[in-house]
C-alpha cells in the first residue's frame, strides 16, 4: 500500500533522509520511530507530496507521489506535525472546506463531515472557532480532517505530541480503531507508543533505517542478544558450524558467499563479550580474520535517544522534589 524506495532528501548540504526503503502492507499500522531530527517529518512530507524527493521514489496505492500526485493524494489522509487549521473558521466550516478540496461529492459531504466529527469526538465543538480550541481538540480536528474523505492511507506525524496523558491514551485508542479501515503510518519519538499502537516498527536514525520488525521482535533482540559482524577469509570453507559451536553464540547469518572472503553476522547472548572467542576460533581453523566489529551499540544508542514515558515521569518527579525542597527551605 505504501512503498518507499531508496528515498533521499537533502536540504542544501543537510541530508535529512538518506536512502530509506520500506513497505507498509494494506491494513497494517506501522510506526516510524526515531529521535528528533531523525528524518520522520521529512519522510512523511515526501510521502504526502508536500516536498519532492531528491532521489528515489514513493508510491501510495501504486501511484507515484511525484508522477501521479493527484491520484496519490486522493488516497492519502495526512495529519502534519501542527494541525493545519484556519482559526477563523468553525470546526464544521473547516471540515466542509476540507471535504470540498478533497473531492468529496456534494451528496456525501455533510454525512462525511458529521461522521468524522463523531469518530474523533469533536462533534460537541462543531460550531466553535478552530482558533479557540484546546490542544487536544485541535489535534482531533486535525485527525478528523485526515480521515474525512475516507482515504486508504493515513499518514500521521507525531499524533500524540503535546497532549496530556489522558488525551494520549484516547488518541492511541482512536488510531487503533481506525486501523481496520485504513493503512496507517505514524511517527513518534516515544518508545512505548509504538509497542502499544503499532504492529510493526521502522526505526530511523540520522536519516537511515537502522532496524525494522515487530515491537516484540525488536525489544527481544535488544534485550537478549548482541550482534557481531565478521569478515573472514576461509578459502571457501563454510564457517557456520565452527562459529555456532562457540558457547554463547545463538545464531549465524552469512551475508556474502564469495569464494574466499565471507561476511558473517553472529548473534550472541547479551552481556558476554565473545569477540575473543570468535577470534580464537577463526585463528585455530587457520582462517584469516579481516574484520571483527560489535554492531549492537548503534541500536542501543538510538534507544537511549528515544524518550520513554517513564523518563518524563521521572523528570516531573524530580521537578516536584526540587519544588518541595525549596518550599521546605522557605518554611
Amino acid at each position: 500500500m505504501i512503498e518507499v524506495q531508496h528515498l533521499t532528501k537533502t536540504y542544501g548540504s543537510v541530508t535529512a533522509v538518506d536512502d530509506i526503503s520500506f513497505r507498509v502492507e494494506p491494513g497494517e499500522i506501522v510506526g516510524l520511530l526515531g529521535p528528533n531530527g531523525a528524518g520522520k517529518t521529512t519522510t512523511m512530507r515526501v510521502l504526502t507530496g508536500y516536498i519532492p524527493a531528491t532521489e528515489g521514489k514513493a508510491l501510495i496505492a501504486g501511484f507515484d507521489v511525484f508522477e501521479q500526485p493527484i491520484d496519490a493524494k486522493q488516497r492519502t489522509g495526512y495529519l502534519p506535525e501542527t494541525p493545519p487549521l484556519y482559526p477563523e473558521m468553525t470546526v464544521r466550516e473547516y471540515l466542509t472546506f476540507v471535504a470540498r478540496i478533497k473531492g468529496v461529492s456534494r451528496v456525501d459531504r455533510e454525512r462525511r463531515v458529521e461522521a468524522s466529527m463523531e469518530r474523533t469526538r469533536v462533534d460537541d465543538r462543531a460550531d466553535s472557532h478552530c482558533g479557540k480550541l484546546s490542544k487536544g481538540y485541535r489535534q482531533r480536528v486535525g485527525l478528523a480532517q485526515a480521515i474525512l474523505h475516507n482515504p486508504d492511507v493515513l499518514i500521521l506525524d507525531e499524533p500524540t505530541a503535546g497532549l496530556d496523558p489522558k488525551q494520549i491514551i484516547e488518541t492511541r485508542e482512536l488510531i487503533k480503531s481506525l486501523a481496520g479501515d485504513h493503512t496507517i503510518i505514524l511517527s513518534t519519538h516515544i518508545l512505548p507508543e509504538v509497542s502499544q499502537t503499532c504492529e510493526r516498527v521502522v526505526i530511523i536514525h540520522r536519516g537511515r533505517v537502522v532496524a525494522e520488525g515487530t515491537p516484540d521482535d525488536l525489544t527481544a533482540r535488544l534485550r537478549s542478544t548482541e550482534t557481531i559482524s565478521l569478515q573472514i577469509d576461509t578459502s571457501g570453507a563454510d564457517p557456520t558450524s565452527a562459529l555456532i559451536a562457540i558457547d554463547g553464540v545463538t545464531g549465524v547469518r552469512l551475508n556474502s558467499d564469495l569464494a574466499s572472503v565471507v561476511g558473517a553476522e553472529v548473534e550472541t547472548v547479551q552481556g558476554r563479550d565473545l569477540r575473543r572467542d570468535l577470534a580464537h576460533t577463526v585463528v585455530t581453523n587457520g582462517w584469516g580474520l579481516l574484520e571483527l566489529r560489535s554492531i549492537r551499540m548503534s541500536l542501543e544508542d538510538i534507544f537511549l535517544h528515544l524518550t520513554t514515558e517513564e523518563d518524563v515521569a521521572a523528570h516531573n518527579d524530580a521537578a516536584n522534589l526540587i519544588k518541595t525542597t525549596s518550599e521546605t527551605a522557605d518554611a
Binding site: Y11, P52, I70, Y78, P80, T82, L85, F97, I101, G103
Partner: protein, 257 residues
C-alpha cells in the same frame, strides 16, 4: 473548476471573518467618496461658469469627460493603496500557520490553488468597485452621462486591479510575513505606476518600451470609452504572467524545502 471555487469561497470567507474586508471596503469607499465630491464640486463650478458666460466662457463641459474620467483616474490611485491589503495575507498567512501543507497535500493542482486565490481576491475587489456604482448612479439621476465610457472604465479598473492582484499573490508567495508582503507589494505597485515617468527622459525607443510596459498608460483609453483589444491583451497577459510566476515561486519553495 469546483476546486477553484472551493478555494475562492474560502478566501472570501477569510476576508470577512476578520475586520480586513470591512476596513478595505470602507477605506476604498471613503477615498473614492472624497474624490467624488471634490471633483463634483469643481465640475459644478465649471458648469456654472459656462452657464453664466455662455459661449464666451470656457467652451463647454461634459459630464463624462470632465467628471467621470478624472474620477476613474483617481480611483486607480486609490486601488494602488488598497489592493496590497487584499493580497498580502494570501500565501504568507498559509505559510506562517502551516495550512499551506493542507492545500499542497490535497488533490488539487498548484494552478487551481492560485486561480482560487486570484478569484477570491478579485471577488473582494469587485465588491469594492460595486460600492462606487452608487456614486455613479446618482450622476444618472441628475445628469445624462453616456454609459459606454463608464462601462469601459469599470472593465479597465477590473483588468488593472487584476494585474495588481497577480503581482500581490506573487510577492505573498515569497514570504511568511504578511507585513513584509504588503509593503513589498506596495513598493512594486508604485514602481509599475511611475515607470512611464522615466519614459519622458529617455530616447525614442526606450520611451516606447517603457510607455508600453507602464500599467497605467493602458488605462487611458478605457477611461475615454475606447475599448481597444491591444490594451485588453496587455492586461490579460500581464495577469497570466504574474500567476505563472506565482506558480513557479510556490514550486521552487517546495524544492528548497
Amino acid at each position: 473548476m469546483r476546486n477553484i471555487l472551493a478555494i475562492a469561497r474560502k478566501e472570501v470567507m477569510s476576508y470577512f471573518a476578520s475586520p480586513i474586508a470591512y476596513v478595505i471596503i470602507g477605506l476604498f469607499a471613503l477615498l473614492f467618496g472624497y474624490f467624488y465630491s471634490a471633483i463634483l464640486a469643481f465640475f459644478l463650478r465649471q458648469s456654472l461658469q459656462v452657464g453664466q458666460f455662455g459661449f464666451s466662457g470656457p467652451t463647454t463641459v461634459n459630464i463624462n469627460q470632465d467628471m467621470i474620467r478624472p474620477l476613474m483616474l483617481n480611483a486607480t490611485v486609490v486601488i494602488l493603496f488598497v489592493l496590497p491589503m487584499v493580497t498580502m495575507r494570501s500565501y504568507s498567512e498559509e505559510k506562517r500557520s502551516g495550512t499551506i501543507e493542507l492545500l499542497l497535500t490535497s488533490p488539487l493542482s498548484g494552478l487551481q490553488i492560485i486561480l482560487g486565490k486570484f478569484a477570491g481576491a478579485m471577488a473582494l475587489y469587485s465588491m469594492m468597485l460595486a460600492v462606487t456604482l452608487v456614486h455613479i448612479s446618482i450622476l444618472f439621476v441628475y445628469g445624462d452621462p453616456e454609459w459606454m465610457p463608464i462601462a469601459t472604465s469599470y472593465l479597465g479598473l477590473l483588468l488593472l486591479g487584476g494585474c495588481f492582484v497577480s503581482v500581490g499573490l506573487l510577492i505573498s508567495s515569497m514570504t511568511k510575513n504578511q507585513v513584509v508582503s504588503g509593503m513589498a507589494t506596495f513598493a512594486v505597485f508604485l514602481m509599475l505606476w511611475v515607470i512611464n515617468w522615466l519614459a519622458d527622459s529617455t530616447g525614442p525607443t526606450t520611451q516606447e518600451v517603457l510607455t508600453y510596459l507602464s500599467i497605467t498608460e493602458h488605462f487611458d483609453d478605457f477611461s475615454r470609452g475606447v475599448l481597444d483589444t491591444k490594451h485588453v491583451v496587455y492586461y490579460l497577459s500581464f495577469i497570466a504572467f504574474g500567476l505563472f510566476l506565482t506558480a513557479k515561486a510556490v514550486d521552487s519553495e517546495r524544492w528548497k524545502g
